[in-house]
Amino acid sequence: MAESPPSLFARLLIALDLFRRVLIDPQFAAAASRLRAAWSTAQPGAPGPERPSLREAEPNAALQLLGLLQRDGRFIDFLEEEVTAYSDSEVGAAARVVHEGCRKALQQHFTIESVRPEPEGERVTLGQGFDASAVRPTGKVVGEPPFSGRLTHKGWRVTNVKLPKVAAGHDLSILAPAEVEL
């Protein structure tokens, strides 16, 4: 938010007040010093430098999804099994179970659509200020947008997520319980 700068008289009052507080309050002095250092490197108008910010991904949703893929599509069974000993047709037969089940789980819990509506192979134009997280230019990336190029992958975007609600205290790290037939 751009504020109008204070008047000369107001600035004089601020300067006197700051002078007094820097002298009597060492903590305030330290803070003022940090602000001064930050101010000299900051862009005009920006509130301050952005700290590098990375957050931990929440494991629960990931565990839940793995559980769903295992339950409906035997996903973990398939990936944990050593495939080298089997023929392609054997792997293919199992892949049908995985494909059918995982597809069902995916369609049931996510609404997925392609980022670009055009068929792959078509020429598309990326205008000024295109969303770089949704469209990635590759190859000869030089000059200024608008960029023109061929759509090599239409991209996927999740528009709606509908994961099951989880009971408090339910152990999500059990992707599939061991089964014991009595």
Partner: protein, 614 residues
């Protein structure tokens, strides 16, 4: 009428339940604000999801079977039973704790429907069993709790609720359904026949257009093949005061034959192939195979360029690739098993055969012995030749060998396969052609899975004056057995006469006349009467006494039972009473015993305790 805000339709199906609702305040004329409630239910331990359908499966868990809190529902932190999707999947592994097809048991004449008999094979002292009636209560209670959770300011108990029942349900099964609905608190309840609900849904979907698609003189045949039952109805298009009117003129017998039988039949074909290769399957794998066959069937029926679809039975253990069994389902097998097995091209004169029960039968339920839907339909149409005789605008009965429908409406998941719908339609049209009648039009249906719930909610709306209603009343006339007065002959049962108590087509909320015949009831002792219904004797009036009848005409239902309380009378005294039938506002048949003197009357119970009694 009540001050309900919603008209709610509940499809209490053999394999699935669904709930749809109309917001009455936001609807007028053909503009209807209708929605489907997605039902929150457990889909796995600790996971609750909202699904369009609630599978009609109920699982009775062992106390140690699931971790604490894993059965939590949004409205109940420790349920003692599991319903819906999780019940179905867990029950496939532990079938002795799974209750399924409870609705078929609800109209099973051979068992006590209030006795804890489900699951049928469960070890009695180990697993607390449920009665078919109680199972219905549980499904309805789940839907009620789900609704109240999602609509905290509009208690379902005070809404207009329509619960659907098969048209072929007998009076006792209807009464049990109504009782179950009242037990969960529904104050404004009506019952509606499922084929009618399907037609209401079609009318609703057409948004007023239906008046141009049917005309006076049309006979609409509704063929509803659900997961567990086949339900048939004939609805005639009539005219009154210049407006089109619909009259349900006939319903079929209760046929336990549905989509599940078809998937099971395919699974048995494939299982046979595997057995021939020396591979055996355990029950869980047969279930998985049935599931695989259903998918393969859908592919084969949808695309006629595909000749075979691989079916994989996954292993139970973690070795998926090494342990799975691969086979395939071919177009020829589907054609032979489903199209020729369930929808064979038969002449209109064909009738179901009572051949020995095939692989389709499970222990207990009286499944249809002939799997051919077309033969059951031929029998129905052949029996109902006189169904439209008395209607204005229709000729003096059908001239052919069977009643000629002019339009067909399909309902039920089975008809998602166009090939099966086409075959059924072709068979009907072949019959019509052989009688020199024009072919029947196909009324393009709505959603085959949800039409019944939607139509039921729409019915709740039209009952308040919002649109056309299907008339018809009871689809049967009812009779009580009277022993004729003749000297006893040793070794010969005294011949029995049938006294008509309720005529065909009694509307809801009406009383029949009281026949003059009197019966002696012994005070304090239950007295049983034989009870009969007829779906073809349309002209019998109250008091008509039948001396004899053909087995096709009258069907014996379960005995009815009257007990006069001993108050103000001495036990053992014989009181002459007359019997009166009425149809309640809810849509159930009610029989009362009325003594000659005084205004007292007692309810006569429709027997649901099984043929053998106590």
């Amino acid at each position: 009428m009540s001050d309900a805000r919603y008209a709610v339709g509940i499809d209490l199906g053999t394999t699935h339940c669904a709930l749809s609702y109309v917001d009455l305040g936001r609807s007028s004329g053909d503009e209807i604000a209708q929605d489907l409630m997605r039902v929150p239910q457990l889909t796995a331990p600790g996971a609750v999801e909202e699904l369009a359908l609630l599978p009609s499966f109920l699982y009775l868990p062992h106390p140690d079977e699931f971790a604490a809190g894993d059965l939590t529902l949004p409205w109940d932190s420790s349920p003692t039973v599991v319903l819906g999707e999780m019940a179905r999947s867990v029950g496939a592994r532990t079938p002795i704790r799974l209750v399924s097809s409870a609705k078929s048991w609800l109209c099973h004449p051979g068992v006590d429907r209030r006795a804890p008999i489900l699951p049928p094979g469960a070890p009695e002292d180990e697993i607390p069993r449920l009665s078919p009636y109680e199972a219905s209560v549980r499904y309805l209670a789940h839907l009620r709790d789900a609704w109240n959770h999602l609509h905290p300011h509009a208690d379902l108990a005070s809404q207009e609720v329509t619960v659907t029942v098969p048209a072929s349900f007998d009076p006792a099964a209807r009464e049990l359904t109504a009782e179950a609905a009242q037990a969960v608190g529904f104050a404004h309840l009506v019952l509606l026949e499922e084929p009618q609900a399907a037609l209401y849904s079609w009318i609703h979907e057409s948004a007023g257009e239906w008046r141009n698609q049917v005309r006076v003189g049309d006979v609409i045949l509704v063929i509803d093949v659900g997961g567990g039952t086949t339900d048939l109805s004939l609805i005639a298009v009539t005219e009154r005061e210049g407006a089109l009117e619909l009259t349900r003129v006939a319903v079929g017998d209760h046929i336990l034959l549905g989509g599940d039988n078809m998937d099971l039949a395919l699974a048995h074909v494939v299982k046979g192939k595997l057995t021939a290769e020396g591979k055996t399957l355990d029950p869980w794998q047969v279930q998985a195979l049935t599931h695989g066959c259903r998918h393969a069937k859908e592919t084969l029926l949808a695309d006629d360029t595909v000749e075979a679809v691989p079916v994989v039975v996954p292993s139970r253990g973690a070795r998926l690739i090494g342990g799975s069994i691969r086979t395939e389902l071919t177009r020829e097998e589907v054609r032979r098993t489903l199209v020729e097995g369930f929808f064979p091209e038969v002449p209109a004169s064909a009738r179901p055969t009572g051949r020995s029960r095939a692989a389709l039968t499970k222990l207990g339920l009286p499944y249809a012995q002939d799997p051919a839907v077309t033969r059951h339909l031929a029998a129905f149409l052949g029996m109902q030749t006189g169904a439209t005789e008395d209607l204005p605008g229709f000729g003096p009965g059908s001239t052919g060998s069977f009643l000629h429908p002019t339009a067909v409406l399909f309902n039920g998941g089975v008809y998602k396969a166009d090939l099966l719908a086409e075959r059924m339609h072709k068979v009907v049209n072949d019959w019509l052609a052989s009688d020199g009648a024009p072919p029947a039009r196909l009324l393009e249906g709505a959603d085959l899975d949800l039409a019944v719930a939607r139509g039921a909610a729409y019915y709740g709306y039209v009952r308040r004056g919002g649109g056309v209603r299907i008339r018809g009343g009871t689809a049967r006339s009812y009779y009580v057995g009277v022993e004729s007065a003749m000297p006893a002959v040793p070794g010969l049962e005294p011949p029995i006469q049938a006294l008509c108590l309720a005529p065909f087509g009694m509307e809801e909320g009406t009383d029949a006349d009281i026949p003059p015949q009197e019966f002696g009831l012994v005070v304090g002792e239950p007295v049983r009467f034989r009870f009969f219904g007829s779906s073809v004797r349309r002209d019998d009036e109250v008091g008509t006494l039948l001396e004899e009848w053909s087995p096709d005409e009258l069907e014996e239902l379960e005995e009815i039972q009257a007990t006069l309380p001993a108050e103000s009378r001495s036990p053992g005294e014989v009181i002459p009473v007359r019997l009166r039938a009425s149809v309640t506002e809810v849509g159930t048949l009610r029989l009362e015993a009325m003594p000659r003197a005084g205004s007292e009357h007692w309810k006569v119970e429709l027997n649901v305790r099984g043929a053998t009694g106590e």
